[in-house]
């Protein structure tokens, strides 16, 4: 591996993400600064004020407007960024479809927080899982370093001519966003080598007038445009793998691909999780392996495109699969659980159990992961809520 030019220091997930935005040479940032906003944009506002980043920063009156503002800047050919969380993301929902449908490769950070009522500022994935059908690539990180690196990779992936889809990068509230750990900040020259300047082929240009977002009837190209989005999303899986490999060659950190497999070789029980819960699950699997229990973890990094093929391959020798969800589709099941079962349909007879845990920021502890493994070993199927209080 080549010598990596970087400076390591201690910082929160939000600070690390802001560094990632700076290194990606973003030209336009828009955000709504009121709760549930994140300190990412606070840090970026400071960077803009101190001229550490030459971006235009525009404060708006709502998250819906923030997404509308980055839509406008991106279509004018400027690399753009915004961040939000929780109810703020829900308020953006309509614009998320417009950005994806217009094929604008905007990158956005989402700090995962619960959706009220009751009011709750803590971490779960209900906000971003509710956006899974908007046409955005979605990725979950487990460390501050990964959150920063993923943001930089995000622009490369989204702006790839075979993809041209927006990119949503998640960080667990508090557990990453407000937690300090070491992060290596790469030198700008290395990032420049990895991430070329942004050029938008169909940018708004008064010398070359074009129509955008016009009307389409049932006989028009509407349905074909949606089919093309689906195909681009599937194609993005290979682009993600290629870009992740190039990132490791230039910047020295290898995140594998759409999933991370941890101790899955010879594993009887495989737990599938994403975000920081997957990190804790890896820790517990290491301890259980030392006791001779054959436990492995699959960490889903990319939820869109859904890594169905990778999961079928990585679980094929397991006796039982468990899926941890930090969000639930009421009347159906855990969001990831449902997708895993769909991926395995007709290709595997392995039983799958859904575990709903960590809702509204309830800590997912070592004993909770152990309980999941024990329930799998006991042959429990269906959907199980973990660590709920009996009297509530």
């Amino acid at each position: 591996m080549r010598e990596i030019g970087s400076k390591t220091s201690i910082m929160t997930g939000n600070e690390a993400v802001a560094e990632g935005v700076r290194l990606s040479k973003v030209g336009f940032i828009s955000a709504y600064p009121i709760t549930p906003q994140t300190t990412i944009v606070e840090k970026l506002a400071e960077m803009v004020a101190n001229r550490e980043i030459s971006a235009r920063y525009v404060e708006v009156e709502s998250e819906h407007s923030a997404m509308a503002a980055v839509f406008a800047s991106e279509i004018a050919g400027v690399r753009s960024y915004t961040a939000t969380s929780s109810q703020g993301l829900l308020y953006m929902h309509e614009m998320l479809h417009w950005v994806a449908g217009q094929r604008l490769p905007i990158v956005m950070s989402v700090v995962n927080r619960a959706i009220g009522p009751p009011w709750n500022i803590w971490s779960d994935q209900s906000d971003s899982m509710n956006q899974k059908d908007t046409g955005w690539i979605q990725v979950y990180s487990e460390s501050n370093q990964e959150a920063m690196d993923t943001l930089i990779m995000g622009y490369r992936i989204a702006e790839d001519s075979g993809v041209m889809l927006p990119f949503m990068s998640m960080e667990d509230a508090f557990i990453l966003s407000h937690t300090s750990e070491q992060v290596a900040i790469p030198d700008q020259e290395l990032v420049d080598e990895f991430l070329p300047e942004f050029r938008l082929g169909f940018k708004v240009d008064s010398d070359r007038p074009m129509g955008y977002g016009s009307y389409s009837t049932p006989d028009g190209p509407f349905m074909e445009l949606k089919k093309d989005m689906m195909e681009s999303m599937w194609k993005s899986a290979n682009v993600i793998k290629k870009v992740t490999r190039e990132f490791s060659e230039i910047l020295g950190r290898d995140y594998g691909g759409l999933i991370e497999e941890y101790m899955t070789e010879g594993a009887e029980y495989i737990l599938i999780a994403s975000g920081t819960v997957a990190s804790t699950a890896k820790y517990v699997a290491g301890k259980l392996r030392a006791d001779g229990r054959k436990v492995g973890i699959i960490r889903i990094r990319y939820f869109r495109p859904f890594p169905a093929e990778d999961i079928v391959r990585a679980t094929k020798d397991a006796a039982h699969i468990g899926v941890i969800d930090r969000s639930v589709s009421f009347g159906s099941g855990g969001t990831v659980f449902n997708e895993i079962r769909a991926a395995l349909y007709g290709r595997s007879d392995i039983p799958v159990t859904g575990f709903v845990a960590g809702i509204g920021g309830r800590d997912v502890r070592e004993e909770d992961i152990e309980e999941m493994i024990n329930l799998m070993a006991a042959g429990k199927e269906g959907t199980v809520f973990i660590n709920t209080r009996g009297d509530q």
């Binding site: 201690i10 509230a173 557990i175 750990e181």
Partner: protein, 182 residues
Amino acid sequence: MLEVRFHGRGGQGAVTASKMLALASFLSGEYVISFPFFGTERRGAPVTAFTRIDTTPILLKTQVYNPDVVVVLDSKVMETVDVTAGMKPGSSLILNSPEAPEDLGLPYHVATVDATRIATDLGLGNRTNPIINTAMLGAFSKSTGLVDMTQIREAISEMSPSKADVNVSAAEKAYSSVRMGW
């Protein structure tokens, strides 16, 4: 892996102390993670913060339930918060208190330091709200031997918003005056 829990009140700097300890350990070549108890912070309300230190990357992302060391910035907090919760028989408790460790009658390794007096004498903060977090780090270094004063000094200098040299002096005074009951 070493797990440390800090108790204090909003405004006393428990969260900063947890971060400074992480930085000092990082400067000593360790992997670290530092985080507050995620709640709604108010000045004067009990605050908890955590630091994990290890020789390998830290995967465990839960709160700290069984701390190896507990640091209490304000012994009055003990009236409403069970600061010993989850402590193991060999765990250490470092208290900001003018009392001798053996007078407290606690079944742990107890160390005491009069951090309030150190801070007041040095003019850190004011009499009603002295800044005692840096003194507690000096006491931590001496009583646990887990992180060297060289790195504690460096971390305080890097992270103090003002009066870095006075904060370093507070840590040094606490280092030389902490009393260990073991």
